[in-house]
Symmetry: C2
Subunit: 332 residues, 2 copies
């Protein structure tokens, strides 16, 4: 198995990406294809390993940044590390791709170059949200499709279900629909119609009904289905709230001598607590609905996060997630 | 001035509602009309005051609960405390209404009985979100209109602007549109079209562009405009995240002896920190776009929160918020 890696994508690229890729090769016994500036990649490789087996390079002089318009970047930046890595998948030289670069570009590139699975109109991004009490929840779509139809959301549920069953080993994932209330009649036009599709599905889906946004982090569902606009709002509200709360708490604790001492004493507990949210443990966000595994690693990924994202791509390949999605979509 | 109060609405009704109403009467020198079970109200009044001036009672034997379907409840529960308080406003016996009861019912009742301002198609709920670094942000619509058009969102901005200028004394409120990115081209169909309306408005609106959900709590905008579905998602995600984070942090601190001692030391700081989020300081959520001030107090309101919500209703009346909204809507 060979995984193509966008060596230049992400805040800590190329160093962290390359180190994580070497670690993945060693731990998971797979081939890696590093796409990016060859001279730079070679220099970092030589610094970090003396074994060059199972490492291939694709030279790409350009880089797609977060400021580039996604579709344009994919079409025009043909010599970018991301586009060349995507072509490696398209041409069958690689089985999957991992990138910590622009989410929008990877989404467009995955859809345009790797290609949609037959029957899937809209691929979607699934984000694993760590729940505080343990476990996690797959939020799908977390940003790909800002304007969605009920049929898209139904497909998101099907894809998320297969992903959790196969990649995360959850036997019967609880699927919930993000909504403003738990009653079946609640919601906007999109969610009311999606509810009916999910409720009446003849597929083996464990649909548990609507979930309110306040209950998502409680771990009441394994999969939360929504349109990409809503998913983005949920994800970024969580991010902002955690950040502001932790900053505010810190400032308050540092404001007095007594609490400052208390702050020193709770520091290890705080560190432990923060580890629970550590995205690097969970790998990246899969782009589901395309013909090969496409994994978006977090922009600020360190080597460990990259290694885990590559592991995730490997499991996707081994468990035939994409073939299973195609089969389910044909039966829906 | 007379404010009608739904004495039976809210988790702590009627006791906390009545005590808060007495306090408001005494502090703000206004008349209160308490709607609810007369015998019960009288009993509580007698326990808490010996001065019955400026207090009127409306007997209402029924109560609208959160389980009632809003529109049906307003139409059928004619003898409920909320409907009778709304009629007091409709008939000109009261200048405004405060209720800590069902949000949906108050929204329907406000729209059906108090009536929409001419030119306003959809009244909206504005929720004041306390920002951690200080200040607050008005999230409008926070749940009334789950299916919205760009024109509705434009009106929400106009109404929020007048509310903050007149009631909260903010001279030029920064208005932002909740969106998935800050660039003007970002968003779904609704937000892209709303952006254009806000940008090209000839009214005196301080439109600062799009805001991502992660930046709302940072206090980067005074008003965040969105459809009611999105507003509900943002508000409840914040609520759930704060709750889970505080619970998780507490559990982690209590898990070890060292951090337990630290926990005792930071307790006053934590209490201080929590006070910053205290909704009871900020009064309730105004239903904007109806002909008289309708204030939804938090369901778990204590006496102080009720008192502040009544104060807010009083300021709305004094500052002619509703007339000013009507004038702006005519000029838009």
């Amino acid at each position: 198995m060979k995984i193509a890696i966008d060596a230049m994508g992400g805040d800590n690229a190329p160093e962290a990406v390359i180190i994580g890729s070497i670690q993945a090769r060693d731990e998971y016994n797979l081939g890696i294809i590093l796409s990016g500036k060859e001279i730079e990649i070679k220099r970092i490789l030589e610094k970090n390993t003396s074994n060059f087996n199972n490492i291939e390079l694709i030279n790409a002089e350009d880089i797609i940044s977060n400021d580039d318009k996604p579709v344009l970047a994919i079409r025009r930046k043909k010599d970018s590390s991301m586009v060349k890595a995507l072509y490696a998948v398209k041409e069958g030289k690689a089985d999957a791709i991992v990138s910590a670069g622009s989410t929008g570009a990877l989404l467009s590139g995955g859809t345009l170059l790797v290609g949609r699975i037959k029957g899937i109109e809209r691929p979607a991004i699934g984000s694993l949200i760590p729940c505080i009490a343990g476990g996690f929840c797959l939020l799908i779509d977390s940003g790909a499709n800002v304007d969605s139809k009920p049929e898209f959301l139904y497909d998101f549920a099907i894809m998320g279900d297969i992903y959790l069953k196969r990649v995360m080993n959850i036997s019967s994932p609880r699927i919930a629909l993000a909504n403003i209330g738990t009653e079946s009649s609640k919601g906007n036009k999109l969610t009311v119609e999606t509810y009916e599709l999910l409720k009446n599905s003849h597929l083996d889906l464990n649909f548990t009904g609507n979930i309110e946004a306040r209950d998502i982090l409680k771990g009441e569902a394994d999969i939360v289905v929504c349109d990409g606009f809503t998913g983005n709002m949920i994800l970024k509200t969580m991010e902002g709230t955690v950040q502001e709360l932790m900053n505010g708490l810190k400032a308050e604790i540092m404001a007095g001598m007594r609490s400052k001492i208390g702050g020193v004493l709770i520091k290890p507990a705080l560190k432990n607590f923060k580890r629970k949210f550590d995205y690097s443990e969970h790998g990246g966000a899969p782009l589901l609905g395309v013909k090969a595994p496409v994994i978006k690693a977090h922009g600020s990924s360190n080597a460990k996060a990259i290694k885990n994202a590559i592991r995730q791509a490997k499991i996707c390949c081994e468990s035939n997630v994409n073939e299973l999605i195609e089969q389910s979509i044909m039966r829906r």
